[in-house]
Symmetry: C2
Subunit: 404 residues, 2 copies
């Protein structure tokens, strides 16, 4: 008799965004005339930029000709895209990463959730709390997180509290941690890590032969010059870190699907090259990214494409600033929104996150994300995003402040 | 100290197509003027058809407008595509599959290699021999296949020989098999399974609560009316089978990336819905397929798109017939090539597969695939594909027959 994966069965059923969707649709059904403003899910709303559109049209045309048709893409991505990534995202910023250290994929979610497949089951895993749920769920599903403790945590994971006191950047834990997930600019808190903070992590990892899985999907939102955009700006990172990047939040590719992962050739665990192991994993379980999509992604490295993309990022950052400044002025304790599209706020009167969610939904008709959905240290916090339109954002801030 | 996945380390290093590439590039370097004809890898060569191009251009334009822009796609695919798949690939052929049983993905390789993630580690797994290497490698990588035995097999897998004697369709094994991979039309042998043969499998699976993972990526190549195109044509399959399909080989999407998996709502293991478990897996480790790609895939269900795609399939099948008939006429023992793009031939004089590979490469300058690369029962066989151009195919057959 065939059995199912028991770890998957044991996982708590409710997924954060599914529960939000349920409450929203229940409210909408009861209040069909309510004009809901959605600042919850971290999905972009601005159209693809003209440079990307032109590149994709040209690629579609190529695929319609005998000479231009492309079959299976390289597992690691086309050279034209990897060369531009290495040049513009790393080398021009003085970061030593070469094209042959880059793997193009269909999404940072695919890569961050699958990367553990090349690592041993016995590793101790550390995650931030609050945290992007995918890191936890992908480990839980693979039987790597231990049993759920009934309170939303897994027994084998090391949770590192991220609070206003530590600026939402934890110190390396006293407990052993072999694999450490870090994400800066952070989802959900909008916090960034300084050079010194990341240096502590890199030193910790090198001393203990631990591995840092660094998610910098939001690096394009960094506005302050001294904040590192890549873990590879930190000395020593090439022997202890992997970096995940995405075209979703800079180029608006959430619906177009392209991302990349950087694995230094110098990164070995017990003599084994992670680059070689990931290549083996990708060539067995993945068949590359569409040629048309990769040509679209490449277009953001042209002068026009880069300028157009910067404009969209500035637009979302302006929204984040509108939320941050508006709510701060109204007396709320607010974090993020400066180097990230996310604003993380302390709920007024220490309300529970879901209570505040219900209050905003029913009174202000605004949808956000309850902080506790990202982990127990998110309790009493709430996430809003700058990914809406300017009009929706301004209206949402007015409604929230009027209902405090 | 962080450890790597030991099962991955233990896997034999040489991958079939990598070894072919190595020998070809060595030969090319030594013989730069040789005009090599490649009938090895199963990659299509005909351009995307006009209906697909138009649909993709229109979708690119939509993504450039505020009203038409789409963010994250549904994990399971857009309704417009799932509805057409259900209608044209199933319901119009009298097969009871509904749109909500279909999951759109970026490739059948992704799905066939990841599906085991929702199944228990303790299951016994049966594969054909010869076999598409991904089924074996994905299990080996996940520690589900046991140790390699030093002769290219894994100790925990049940291998089912596929030979001319059984028409390359094995009977259900005497040993226990919980998860059974079947692929018809078959890669690499080009064989098909009859209704009666599949019925035996479905009955076996239902009796033992086993699960059939049915790969029908090549169903568009079936030319004989009585050959089933889907496992769901067989009574009882809705309680024991999952089906994998792809747009790669019918619509030429190897470089565009779109596929789908069918999981009946009626398929439960020990009370657990596989449909629900796969949805949970996909929503955690995958973020859907590009809107533009899904619109392109949908275009093959329009009357024009369907006609254009049929023309390409007929072209490849004509090539397969050229190989099949040409080599048969030259006295070789030849299989496949009628309901599949693949021709599977017995090497002359019982040559070993790799010896015949080297002989064709060095004497005829033709690249094929050694049968032993697909499993030990592929020894003494060789695969050629109909995916080249008509000119290359004819020339290759002339050269092979001249060098026998």
């Amino acid at each position: 008799m065939t059995t199912v994966n028991q770890s998957l069965i044991n996982m708590p059923k409710t997924y954060l965004f599914a529960e939000i969707a349920r409450r929203v649709s229940e409210f909408s059904a009861a209040n069909p005339s309510a004009n809901l403003l959605r600042l919850g899910i971290g999905d972009v709303t601005r159209p693809l930029v003209p440079a990307v559109l032109s590149a994709m049209h040209a690629a579609v045309d190529e695929m319609g000709t005998a000479a231009g048709f492309r079959g299976y893409p390289p597992y690691e991505g086309y050279s034209f895209l990897r060369d531009d990534i290495a040049k513009y995202d790393y080398q021009q910023r003085g970061i030593s990463i070469s094209a042959d250290e880059i793997f193009v994929s269909d999404g940072a979610k695919s890569d961050t959730s699958s990367f553990i497949e090349i690592l041993g089951l016995e590793n101790d895993i550390a995650v931030c709390d609050p945290v992007y749920p995918v890191y936890v769920d992908s480990n839980a599903m693979a039987g790597r997180a231990g049993e759920p403790d009934g309170e939303g945590r897994y027994r084998k994971l090391v949770y590192m509290p991220c609070t206003p006191q530590n600026g939402f950047v934890p110190l390396p834990p006293k407990k052993t941690a072999d694999i450490i997930y870090l994400c800066y600019p952070n989802n959900p808190t909008g916090a960034v890590a300084t050079r010194q903070q990341l240096k502590q992590w890199v030193d910790y990892a090198n001393e203990r032969q631990a591995l840092i899985l660094y998610d910098s999907a939001y690096e394009a939102y960094i506005t302050e010059a001294d904040i590192p955009r890549s873990i590879f700006e930190i000395e020593g990172a090439r022997t202890c870190a992997v970096e995940f990047r995405s075209f979703s939040k800079n180029a608006g590719f959430t619906g177009t699907r392209c991302a990349y992962t950087v694995i230094p050739q110098t990164l070995c665990l017990n003599g084994h090259s992670l680059h070689a192991l990931w290549m083996r994993r990708q060539s067995t379980k993945f068949n590359g990214v569409s040629y048309i999509t990769q040509r679209g992604a490449q277009a953001i490295y042209t002068p026009e494409g880069a300028a157009q993309v910067r404009e969209n990022i500035a637009y979302y950052l302006q929204n984040a600033a509108t939320i941050r400044d508006g709510l701060r002025k109204a007396g709320l304790e607010v974090y993020g929104g400066t180097n990230a599209p996310y604003v993380w706020l302390k709920t007024p009167d220490n309300q529970l996150s879901w209570d505040f969610f219900d209050r905003l939904l029913t009174q202000a008709h605004v949808v956000g994300t309850p902080g506790v959905g990202f982990g127990s240290h998110g309790e009493g916090f709430f996430r809003l995003t700058g990914f809406g339109s300017q009009e929706v954002t301004q209206e949402a801030v007015s409604r929230i402040t009027a209902n405090l």
